[in-house]
Symmetry: C2
Subunit: 497 residues, 2 copies
């Protein structure tokens, strides 16, 4: 085969893998949106089958040979082709590092651990989950050994979700965050005001739904190449380059929860709709990391969606959607209501100001487990200690404590930090955007989101996976990722409330 | 491998094929229901990929070896295992008869022919479609040669949709139908009454939707293992044993179109929900033919759904769903309105009494094309001649004539007769059911559909693919399939109007 044929074959193979990936994404999307209840057992079997096929396609020896041949001819390839080859080879070699028997065992333990975790959380009893968590930790450490690492075994796990990040530097960043963000929280907590009465009304479901669709369209989500549906837990999924789907959930007693959730997923969706068409069905049509992806959802949800100018624009529209319900409310009232700071027990319900502290609790415990300084049986006690230390409160039971999140039962060690990194990246990137576009808040206040969206498209989205997240932050802002911009942002917000 | 291991392996392979089949079904379902418009191009690629994988899995040489080994040990197998082996082997050998190069060429010509047909129909110009139809006919004849046949090459094509049916006997049955049903239509047309005025109201969309759901539940569709959605062209699809989906479309100006369409698809869905759980993910969990499947949809849509007792039961309910709109209408009025006989040009809009005549027009032309007695260029003229002969009317153009159906562009020669056979089977089977259950119409008039549903479940659905359609009709009714019961049914209905 000559070089062109090899590249053509690679594109075909990637297209095939992407086709199978689309089937997996659709089966999962349907499972959360429309699948009838009795379909659940069958869906598990279908997914196991298709995931197995995807794995076989992706780890095929001849694909590896092709990739290595192309790598060896890298001098003859253009930059983009080189990037496609090196990124695919990176994924390929990582996938090949785990023997099939290990992948199978991991999946089995995962599945058992998940079921036990569900029950243990329901009964708020960590002791049930303990042996499964021990096994999961063992397997994760074995996995880290198979992937290899230089410094901490946690690095090897982190790499799966946040390529290029290192445990050592995260520890430094998070320690600083814990101190300075903790101080902000303590200060804000002293000024705690009650939940305003006007919020406790019933908010029409259909009006919430159509307003959420309107907001998605306003920020630039292309509804001809995507859609929004309902699900218990909101998510964004990519079926294919031109088919990006978000979900939301609407509560009649919470006006802003559904709207901000749509903005959050909308931020993810704009990322997925912002890749270059020529990169479609290659690794370049992906974000470099979960943290970078999360930066876009949090930017739209928090930096924009919880800002005063945003609600100055939307208040008259809100009044149209909910006639008579907001006559005596002004934009400042909304701004205050959706930025209320109050330490609470559950991460997914935490406000913006306390959120990272929840992550730090988990990060310190999970690095300890993987690095061997923390014993599984000590997790509940450590959880209490750290919640007290960072948030000043303590969970009354395991269900509201160390059993609240699904991640450890899934074996997803290294996932939590990506949420906090998303916050940091979002502020650092947005700070640069607002330097480039001094009128950005005037635009937001007049409902003009296209300058920001187009800036993000060029500077973030279209870059795809050509850089790692830290490299991309450096490219955009001229600085390593740090907590500084985020702390500046949070301090300013807290002082404005 | 010992026998048990071989059977276990076969079940696993079938499970895997069924998992891929589920992905295909879901991709297709989504394409017609929720996929955003720009997703279309990607969806084509995804489906091509997954269909290719399904084909490779199913035609794998080692699967054939396994099946033949099991067939050679048939004396040691129970009846059901033998049926699974022989039915899978039947499918396997049929799939292997077509070389991959031929399958690929066929798919390419199909795709091109479909696109040209769309344009030709839009512009009502058969000459555009002619060269593509010629190529399709050539390929279908080549296909017939590859499959092999004894009498007519059309037999080999028929086998794909209506296994066990033969061209020769269909010609006899359809000739009789044409004569006797033609006479009924001529007689009924003389008594043509205008469309009643009360029908021309606007019928609330949400009320139509929820009534259609109610009817589906009433006839026994299990909504925990299925669902209804909207699509431009109603269909039923099986994602998996416990996940059966129907679609419908609702027109504000047509009250009965959506409801009867739901009943039609509901009939298909009851069939799919009526298989035995132990047969799940094997060929036994399938109908023996399209005609047999259609018998169940037409039984519920026409024999039940267009009967007087059915509307005696539903009239008070209709009045609840559409308050004030049906105060002066009685069940007889509805019965007359939904059974109006009037020869018309479009098959899919034809009434029950004229429907089979549309099929006979197509059957005579397509057998002629495949057997070589009809030339492609003569199709429009033949169409006019036969429409005049059987229905007494003539299409003013190709769009409303020989270009109206998609089937030929798909290369689906042998498909049309299954619609008419569905009608014949439905009447012959229902005649036996009403002999076994003399109070069947009292049950229908009181909204009790479970006796009929359970009778069909035992006598038809649970038999799966253990017999061919003609064998199953014989098993159920003690007689070969004929047109007699259907003509008795239609004569009685016409005289009751």
């Amino acid at each position: 085969m000559n070089l062109d044929d090899k590249l053509k074959t690679l594109r075909e193979r990637l297209g095939e893998i992407s086709g199978v990936g689309a089937a997996i994404a659709l089966l999962e999307w349907d499972q959360e949106t429309y699948m009838p209840p009795q379909g659940a057992a069958g869906r598990g079997l279908q997914l196991a089958t298709i995931v197995g096929i995807a794995h076989r396609l992706f780890t095929a020896t001849d694909l590896g040979d092709l990739l290595r041949e192309l790598r060896d001819e890298r001098d003859k390839l253009c930059d983009d082709d080189n990037a496609i080859v090196s990124e695919t080879l990176y994924d390929y070699e990582r996938a090949r590092k785990l023997p099939e028997s290990f992948v199978k065992e991991f999946a089995e333990v995962q599945s058992a651990a998940f079921n036990v975790w569900m029950k243990a959380r329901e009964e708020s009893d960590f002791t049930q989950f303990k042996p499964y968590l021990s096994r999961i930790v063992e397997l994760c450490r074995a996995k880290a050994d198979m992937f290899g690492y230089e410094d901490s075994p946690y690095d090897a796990l982190l790499e799966e979700f946040e390529r290029g990040a290192r445990t050592k530097s995260l520890k430094i960043i998070f320690a600083e965050l814990a101190e300075r963000q903790g101080a902000l929280v303590r200060e804000a907590s002293c000024r705690l005001t009650p939940v305003p009465e006007w919020l406790s009304q019933e908010w029409n479901d259909a009006a919430q739904w159509s307003l959420s669709i309107r907001m998605l369209k306003d920020i630039g989500f292309n509804m001809n190449a995507g859609r929004q549906d309902r699900s218990a837990h909101p998510f964004t999924t990519t079926i294919d380059y031109d088919d990006i789907r978000v979900t939301t959930r609407i509560h009649a007693d919470q006006l802003f929860s559904g709207l901000l959730s749509s903005l959050h997923e909308g931020g993810h969706a704009l990322y997925e709709q912002g890749f270059l068409e020529k990169d479609a069905r290659t690794p370049l049509c992906q974000a470099p990391s979960l943290g970078m992806h999360e930066s876009q959802s949090r930017l739209w949800e928090n930096i924009i969606g919880r800002s005063l100018p945003f609600w100055e624009y939307y208040l008259p529209i809100l009044r149209e959607y909910f006639p008579g319900k907001l006559d005596s409310v002004n934009a400042e009232d909304i701004h205050r209501a959706i930025n209320r700071v109050e330490p609470s027990l559950i991460r997914t319900e935490a406000d913006e100001c306390t959120y990272n502290l929840h992550i730090i609790v988990r990060f310190e415990i999970e690095t300890g487990l993987i690095e061997g300084n923390v014993k599984v049986e000590d997790v509940p006690a450590l959880w209490s200690e750290k919640m007290r230390k960072y948030l000043g409160i303590e969970a009354p039971n395991d269900a509201q404590g160390c059993l609240q999140d699904v991640h450890w039962s899934h074996g997803s060690f290294g996932y939590f930090p990506t949420y906090a990194l998303g916050n940091l990246y979002s502020a650092q990137i947005f700070e640069k955007a607002s330097q480039d576009m001094p009128h950005i808040w005037d635009d937001v206040a007049s409902g003009n989101f296209s300058p920001l969206r187009e800036w993000l498209r060029v500077n973030v989205h279209q870059r795809g996976r050509r850089k790692t997240a830290p490299e991309l932050v450096m490219e955009i802002t001229g600085m390593e990722p740090t907590a500084d911009a985020y702390l500046r942002y949070l301090t300013k917000k807290c002082s404005s409330l």
